[in-house]
Symmetry: C3
Subunit: 315 residues, 3 copies
Amino acid sequence: MGDDTVRNHSFINKAFPFIAISLKGISQVVLIENVVSGAIILLAITIASVPLGIIALLSSMIGTMIGKLGGVDDEILNQGLFGYNSVLTGMALLLFLTGPTQWILCLVGAAIAAILTASVMHIMKGTGIPILTLPFILLTWFALLVSYRLTTFQISNSLVPQSLRQWELDITGDIELSHGIFYGIGQVYFLDNMVSGILLFIAVFWASWKLGLYASIGNAAALVTALILGAERSLIFLGLYGYNAILTCIAVALVFNMDKRPFSYASGIMAACLTVPLAASINTWLLPYGLPALTMPFVLSTWVFLSARKILPKL
Amino acid sequence: MGDDTVRNHSFINKAFPFIAISLKGISQVVLIENVVSGAIILLAITIASVPLGIIALLSSMIGTMIGKLGGVDDEILNQGLFGYNSVLTGMALLLFLTGPTQWILCLVGAAIAAILTASVMHIMKGTGIPILTLPFILLTWFALLVSYRLTTFQISNSLVPQSLRQWELDITGDIELSHGIFYGIGQVYFLDNMVSGILLFIAVFWASWKLGLYASIGNAAALVTALILGAERSLIFLGLYGYNAILTCIAVALVFNMDKRPFSYASGIMAACLTVPLAASINTWLLPYGLPALTMPFVLSTWVFLSARKILPKL
Amino acid sequence: MGDDTVRNHSFINKAFPFIAISLKGISQVVLIENVVSGAIILLAITIASVPLGIIALLSSMIGTMIGKLGGVDDEILNQGLFGYNSVLTGMALLLFLTGPTQWILCLVGAAIAAILTASVMHIMKGTGIPILTLPFILLTWFALLVSYRLTTFQISNSLVPQSLRQWELDITGDIELSHGIFYGIGQVYFLDNMVSGILLFIAVFWASWKLGLYASIGNAAALVTALILGAERSLIFLGLYGYNAILTCIAVALVFNMDKRPFSYASGIMAACLTVPLAASINTWLLPYGLPALTMPFVLSTWVFLSARKILPKL
């Protein structure tokens, strides 16, 4: 490639910031802006599933590119804020759709997620509340429902609509604490894999020990709350009651807690606990449609506490 | 208790304003800020059911305390505006949940209602429209749906999910006018008791004869509308088409009608009539989930008219 | 009538602007403010069905009158912006309700549509996004659900609630291109009639050749997208995947595209394509209630792109 070295070098110079932003996009899913954390998370995903790792990186790149082409403010773009909703959307569609057109739908979904990110940013601007993962949630729900009407969208048969009248609750099951701990953080990225869970904790602690601490506290709070309130143990120890609590605890106690507030530590834990009944409720609400709750419990609990703080400043 | 009198007196001095605000919280359910009215209403509730009376007072106190601890503006707190959503939430959960943990859930629910009140206040601030009872409605719906997933939440077997396809309408029944009149206002506090209904009217008239008049007109408008449109008589004469109309008529024609408007009297009555089809529609929408409409028809009808007035100033 | 000529003349003077605004109300359904286009559209509707034509004109007059009586700003009123939601509501209720009281309900519905128009205008003012046909959609859905609870509301038996579990998709059918083209624009006004479709195209081209061009492109984009994604051919060639795309393409590429943007043409077509999966998704979501999607895909797709533009200025 001899005479191409200079152009190649310049290409790398241009490409690297783009890769860096895309990795930040992956880390922003756990509210972290850190290239190294993003790379560790990408490794954690790829260990669990290579296709998921590929789609995570591609989706983040697509989201970032849409933001760039659309002319978004550089400050927003460089934080990776146009990547994380695309990452989650691409991964969710790869998991919940099947069929030959699945990859195309995932990548188009990642692109639309970036546009929807911009929409929700604008609509919520007046409230001073962050958009979190709402664009991903809305878009994924919408895409999964499409499958009942368009043949190219083929929904995974793990998602079955059920009638609330025929629903029976069976909470029995074994207590598997290590699963509860490491699957909880894994489920943020749809993973139930021990090594991935450990890597994810490393990624979070790498960004800051405080973030790691609050993530652990949030997960523990959710485990205890879910056990006390009587949730299905099969779900608890798959981490399905934990991931929303981890995100919520980080968001309420740390990331969106600029001012020193007397009860901010307590309100972070309270918000984490609240995700447990919220997850239960949202799952019930979605039962007739066979849709997963995704990170909606995190979004609602965090919004409730962040907006309440504007009126109750000590919270 | 001899030597404690001074401390006791100071305790009462401190305690009484708190009790007064809590009673205002009870009266704010019918959009009234009046300690005596609140006390009469508490009596009306207690006559119908002692546990309901206890939970109403406790919930109002908890809501007010959360507002105080959270550092809300005193002017808002002293009007009882952090009490009424807690009162309704506590009462609704006592009625619609069962089981040994019910009381704890009611009191925790009352606390969360106060936090949600702050959230909704902040989010709706830009619109200039009052939050009314939205926090109570959302929280109660959410809590009742939880019961399908967490064993500590046990839903009353009066709430059964039904399929819209199997739904059959039977509107026959006797006309019982006195029930229609006094159960209507009673249902604002979930009561179908003649004496309680009379006491509630006294409480409203005590605050102002105008409020009492508009409450009566709103109820009458709803009774006539429901009969003409062909609603189920069993529901009409339980007051289940009346309570939303009472609240709406008071809100649109009186409480949130600062400026003199040419049609405000007529629009109050129109808004009251609109709650009848709204209640029918919301009940249909909630049928697959087995949830009650609560005061959602009041909230929607009032919002429609109050926000329309900002564009149609004569309304 | 001899001596009445002067008064009659003055009556006509007063009456004509009112008729003109009402015709503009009819044309505003396709985002056009043009009296002649409105008259041609009214003809197109009347050719398909005389009762529909009558209700369209009456509804527009009622909506405009409510705006006038309510004291709305003349500039808004004169553009026909208080007519179009009433037109669609009146027509939809005539089509989807039956029974002796149907006409009264249509006219009352048209009046409430105007009040709801004002409400939604106020609530969305802060976002800088147009309300489009949201008031019509919400009001029609609400009115159709009422039929399960109030006997005077009798729903057409074409609208049947279905369970998602029993839903089977059959996309086979013939390709009827001419239907796809002319029924698409017809369905904006609930029409599947060739002559009406041709007249509607004439009405749009009369207002501006650019509008006509974008309407055609939007429709073509939706036809191709629906065929590629595998939609039911019976619906495609009834125009049921086309009307939302037509409205969206006009709105995003032309009517609400004040500034020159690099990708506005492309984003208009992308928004039109997006209405196809949106329509599929919304129809699935409404299946348990047996409700039609109406123009909700248009509203959502247009909102997504118009609000995204505030953050992504090149879109």
